[in-house]
């Protein structure tokens, strides 16, 4: 194991050590603050090693260390280890940096929790960071799947962190079963891949049919994890979790794991053009659909949640267009500015004790630093030229130019306008205008909450300039050009913001609100899934329950009952009188004699 791989392993194992310590030492976890300090330390170690790896990275360097994991017949069919290349190093930096910022933010945000749940919160965060890093450095799809399921578990636990709230408990179960449903695709993809190649490598050469099958099944898992239409319904509900959790899991890293999987398995997807076409359409469709829904939400976190769906749609569309680099680049910049936006929203929610945009207003004077950083994040998301979001979004759109009759490109261009429009709406509603009743007593958050905002604001503004380096490492084409896409995109972004100013500056509601709310209701995606859950899944469960109760258990009961009954019917033979037994012996002996004589 070389030095670089040791550092990568350290980044994975430090959070695991912290989580394990907190799990096996309940007094430590229940003390709260010490557990938080331990988990923060582990994240710091993790982020430090990831940054060190980044500074040491050289173009084209790929190395891995593995140890056998699942051994069958003396041959390792799956191994576990670390894979260090440009993708995993950059992803590791993004994940650990955002996680560190979110955890620092959480120390202040979760301040009112009891010490025991404070400790539980940070234990889960450490467990999440371990799971996510396992996924990121995975040398094959099997370990990636293990990490994938672990982040799903921690997502479930963190959405349901306030499990005494019925809505949070429901949301966590919903997120769990929606993503598990999709994860079946991953399981079957692994099965097919193993049957075809006797391994779980993403670099395998497959026939077109097998590749299409494997990638389609993998894409099903991605649709669930990255909240693409029609499995996106769990993500807005997942906002029931604490806001920093939404920032880390449901905006920056976990939901992006789906996109990361496609980037990783790009050699497989490259062999399946049919799957890529589906991805192109689903990605661009989701982007527009979710952006429309983001426009009418009244809850600041729900706006950001739909915006996350929409931005993930951009990434999926870019990957569908065959540009792993564009998708990955947008993943990285999105992680920073969306985490910044969520933490900014958390800071606002902490101040006004409400998620509703109507309860905010005028906060730019009360919370100037939050307003500044949130504003930078919003402009970056909107794609204002010069900020990080502009570069990556522009590259995604450039990759889509002319594909599939320009339609996905046009959809995403429209989305880009809507993105600027709804972010403008949030900015104006939350920070502009006159303060509402609840916002009167708001005051700026403390240092532990502002520091992560400032730290994240730096990459949210400047990460775009890292694109050239990332492209060089990924071996992709990337150069700024003054063509059709950047000009149209910039105009649309600025136009969206000015349109929002013009519309909402006077305190009006969004145009077509009733139409869009109708779209939300009429789309009926949520209700379809609820109906499927209620009628199909519960129906199947009822049949299973009937079979279990009356067939499986019935057979056992019948055997037991018939034993008791047959015993009761023959017990009369045992009279207990010695003479009867003697008579039986004599008669038996006589019968034997008779048999001997007659034979």
């Amino acid at each position: 194991m070389s030095t670089l791989q040791s550092w990568a392993a350290l980044a994975v194992l430090a959070p695991l050590a912290a989580a394990l310590l907190c799990v096996v030492l309940p007094p430590l976890r229940k003390a709260g603050k010490p557990a938080a300090a331990l988990c923060l330390l582990s994240s710091l170690v993790s982020a430090g090693s990831a940054l060190y790896l980044l500074t040491q990275h050289e173009t084209g360097s790929v190395s891995r260390t593995t140890i056998p994991w699942i051994v069958f017949g003396g041959k390792a069919i799956a191994s576990i280890g670390v894979h260090v290349d440009a993708t995993s190093v950059v992803m590791l930096v993004v994940v650990t940096m955002v996680a560190l910022c979110v955890q620092i933010f959480s120390t202040a945000y979760m301040h009112d929790e009891k010490p025991s749940s404070y400790g539980r919160y940070f234990t889960l965060h450490a467990l999440f960071l371990f799971s996510m890093n396992t996924l990121v450095v995975a040398p094959n799809l099997m370990q990636l799947f293990a990490g994938w399921e672990l982040v799903g578990l921690t997502s479930y636990l963190l959405i349901g962190f306030w499990f005494q709230k019925p809505s949070a408990a429901k949301a966590s179960v919903k997120a769990f079963w929606m993503t598990k449903l999709a994860d079946m695709g991953f399981v079957f993809a692994l099965l097919v891949l193993f049957v075809a190649t006797r391994g779980f490598e993403w670099s395998a050469r497959l026939s077109t049919e097998t590749a299409t099958l494997v990638t389609a099944l993998l894409f099903l898992a991605v649709v669930g994890k990255s909240a693409q239409f029609p499995l996106h319904v769990w993500l807005p509900d997942a906002m029931e979790g604490p806001t920093p959790v939404s920032a880390l899991l449901h905006a920056a890293t976990m939901v992006a794991a789906g996109v990361f999987l496609i980037v990783r398995a790009d050699p497989l997807f490259a062999q399946a053009p049919a799957t890529r076409d589906v991805m192109l359409w689903i990605g661009s469709g989701t982007a527009l659909f979710a952006a429309c829904l983001a426009l009418v939400q009244t809850d600041i976190k729900k706006v950001l949640a739909y915006s996350t769906c929409s931005q993930l749609g951009y990434m999926v569309a870019a990957l569908g267009a065959g540009s792993a680099f564009a998708g990955f680049f947008h993943l990285g910049t999105h992680a920073f500015f969306k985490a910044l936006l969520f933490l900014g929203a958390g800071s606002v929610i902490h101040a006004v004790h409400s998620n509703e945009l109507a309860d905010m207003g005028g906060l730019r004077k009360k919370m100037p630093w939050t307003a500044l950083t949130f504003g930078l994040g919003a402009l970056s998301l909107a794609g204002v030229p010069g900020l990080a979001g502009f570069f990556s979004k522009d590259h995604v759109l450039s990759e889509l130019e002319g594909r599939a009759g320009w339609i996905p490109w046009a959809l995403l261009m429209l989305t880009s306008f809507l993105t600027a429009f709804y972010m403008g709406r949030v900015l104006i509603k939350a920070f502009g205008g006159a303060p509402s009743a609840k916002a009167h007593h708001a005051h700026e958050s403390g240092g532990a909450m502002l520091l992560p905002l400032f730290v994240l604001a730096v990459p949210a503004v400047g990460a775009g300039f890292f694109g050239g380096k990332l492209a060089e490492w990924s071996g992709a084409e990337y150069h700024l050009h003054l063509g059709l896409t950047p000009i149209v995109a910039s105009c649309l972004a600025l136009g969206g913001i000015f349109a929002a100013l013009a519309v909402f500056g006077r305190g009006k509601t969004a145009p077509f609100t009733s139409v869009l709310e109708g779209l939300d209701r009429a789309s009926a995606v949520d209700r379809t899934w609820a109906g499927l859950y209620r009628h199909v899944l519960l129906g199947v469960s009822a049949v299973m329950g009937f079979i279990d109760r009356y067939v499986v258990d019935g057979l056992m009961n019948a055997i037991g009952y018939s034993t008791i009954e047959s015993g009761a019917s023959v017990r009369r033979l045992q009279t207990g009188r010695i003479h009867d037994y003697a008579m039986a012996v004599v008669v038996g002996a006589l019968l034997i004699v008779l048999w001997g004589v007659l034979r």
């Binding site: 017990r571 009369r572 033979l573 045992q574 009279t575 207990g576 009188r577 010695i578 003479h579 003697a582 008579m583 004599v586």
Partner: protein, 98 residues
């Protein structure tokens, strides 16, 4: 006196023993009936040995030794029976009734 006479006597003794075994209620009488059946068998052994030759008489000696042991155990059981029920009638010991 031929072998037939001896065997007839032995079977007569055996039948008396069986009759006693099935009809007597006192434990001691049942043990006596058992002895009778045992001795009927011994008689048959001895008769065959006398008229036909062979090692039958050796079996008789062994059987007698075993009978002694059997009687010792049987009488011990009778003692226990008496202690428990203040009676030696076998009808009383019917606790194994199903």
């Amino acid at each position: 006196m031929t072998l037939t006479h001896c065997l007839l006597l032995a079977s007569f003794l055996f039948c008396v023993g069986v009759y006693g075994l099935l009809t007597r209620r006192q434990a001691v009488a049942v043990l006596l009936s058992l002895e009778l059946m045992m001795n009927a068998a011994n008689l048959a052994f001895a008769s065959f040995a006398h008229f036909k030759g062979g090692p039958g008489q050796v079996f008789v000696i062994f059987a007698l030794a075993i009978t002694v042991a059997e009687v010792a155990i049987g009488l011990a059981l009778v003692m226990l029976l008496y202690r428990r029920y203040d009676d030696t009638a076998l009808d009383r010991a019917s606790e194994a009734k199903g």
